[in-house]
Point group: C4
Chain length 196, copies 4
């Protein structure tokens, strides 16, 4: 199951670049055309690091499992379905920033997708933390429980930035960017994320 | 062979999102534009869960094999060819729903592809159920036979919904959606689908 | 190296479907629109089975290797480069069949790419057949040599159909289709292609 | 981590072909249309071999590691982010060569991305060379240090060609092509690149 999930993460993360393009007529003044695409870069980096951070947490959970229940396989399939969907709202946000009438809807739609991803990984982490019988013999259940508890705050942060998008969508877009950075940077993920 | 198949499933499942887009002029009223894409979401979820459910069954079969015959490799290659083809009818169905003149043709074409996928996995399950010599020593042939017998009803369901598409294509589209849900949800797949 | 190659094969094979589309105005008469795409299906199946057959042979070679030389890694990288390129001439051939002025050029360009793929895998098979020191201890060098000898005729067949494309490109397109079928079907690949 | 990275490399390398296309009206004179796409082929081969060469070096480093620190996972994630980004400047360069007003900007932007890739792999090679505790017991630290030292000159070459792009962008584009060839060809990579 992990190889399949890794495949989906790797592909979703790599498809993001297809959303970036410079309009034909920008070839006249290409530096300007490249610079004008900044919302695309912001959306690319945010989505890339969000999936990348998710992969670190996901790998940290699944490499500790000896086997999986069908319920876990299904939770994971729903997670993958939302992750695979992310390139679509990413493109919307890249197109809609600076187009004031659409900006709010696009950022809320994007944020709701990020929230759904965070919700699914939290659900998975909690499910695994309750099922000591699924773990490899060498794995300490207390450690997995602590790791699962550490994942959940993200859900609150995503909800807060999502609410904030109602009033200031552009600021919220940078908020999601900041959250994607924290998913990769903070110390507290270290124990969970240490790869095999 | 399983790694290669998993790769194809993971890519086909992730490419589905490329079919979803909001027309340029919908940026004026983006919530409306997003809502108008509901046939795309229906087609995305149906195809995603169909391939996801297929992956569970496929993995349940192939991880029990010690080695494969060339005949099995070829059956598998034809299965992969039909699965890889699915994004095309998925896009057709997403475009044609609500465009009444094309709806029937698109849903029948889509359903025929789903039927072909179901047909190929049924063929593979039956082939493996007849070849006890291909299995790992620890695997019980009776268990594989029971699992293979459980896969086949789907074929009948797909045929029925496909026939129904002749009279009511939109209802049939929701029928395929319902079938994709049952492929992921029902209890009876549990034994076959339990991953390693 | 095999996992990386398998990834490239799986992606190239799955990207082929992106080349198939029905023009917007065909929604009026969708059955006709779907039928008119027959050159796309022909090109899709030919390219899919060619890469699929190549994967069987490639896997048959590389799973017998204990380690690889840098020269082999480079030969393999050139093979992957040509395989990854195949979706482009595939699309050309799908667009150009039935458009008489372009048909010959498209089929020759497509056939030349298939010939290059066949050339590279022949080169790799012969290289491995000369290097008994690269094989797993359990592998018989004579068996690998016989397998390598069996791969090479394909090269001649591709050259012949390619020459034939100069006079009758449409017939040659069906010739490449027939060759892709033989790569999957014939008995003589059985020993080489038997997967682990 | 290596499977995930290999997945991203394999996908990025295979997506490059999607950037190549022949304009509709070129079907009139397809040989001419195919020939006119030479900047696309140049950009395709350069990017393909650059990622391919990177994969050889990356695999040479990561297969020697017993486990990874979170810092290394993050460095690797940034490397993957830049590699995944490469198809975008590749397309720009393919579009802009021969369109004199945009050529300089496109080649500089492309070269800067190649420089960033070279910078990240150099950083990773040096990090690993300093951390003998991460290596497999059978691996000699001196060998890894020597390998890391051999990677770094590339960085200087990329910087030089990038500077040269300010005055002669077209020549610089061929310079990046030449560098991509040396990444695959030279003897000195042999020890690092020897795959398992």
């Amino acid at each position: 199951m992990e190889a399949f999930s890794d495949g989906v993460f790797a592909i979703a993360i790599t498809l993001l670049v297809l959303e970036i393009s410079v309009p034909e007529d920008a070839l006249e003044n290409l530096w300007r055309g490249i610079a004008d695409q900044w919302p695309s870069y912001l959306a690319y980096v945010t989505s890339f690091l969000t999936i990348g951070g998710l992969w670190i947490v996901h790998h940290g959970i699944f490499r500790r499992l000896r086997h999986a229940t069908l319920a876990l396989v299904r939770l994971n399939l729903v997670l993958l379905m939302v992750v695979s969907f992310l390139p679509f709202p990413t493109r919307l946000v890249a197109d809609a920033i600076d187009a004031t009438s659409a900006e709010r809807a696009a950022v809320i739609f994007y944020g709701a997708t990020l929230f759904a991803i965070s919700f699914m990984i939290t659900l998975i982490a909690r499910y695994v933390a309750r099922r000591g019988d699924l773990l490899h013999d060498s794995v300490d259940l207390a450690e997995v429980r602590a790791a699962a508890a550490r994942v959940s705050p993200n859900l609150v942060f995503y909800a807060l930035v999502l609410l904030f998008a109602l009033v200031a969508p552009l600021v919220a877009a940078f908020g999601f960017f900041a959250l994607s950075l924290t998913a990769v940077i903070p110390r507290r993920l270290e124990r969970l994320g240490r790869p095999a």
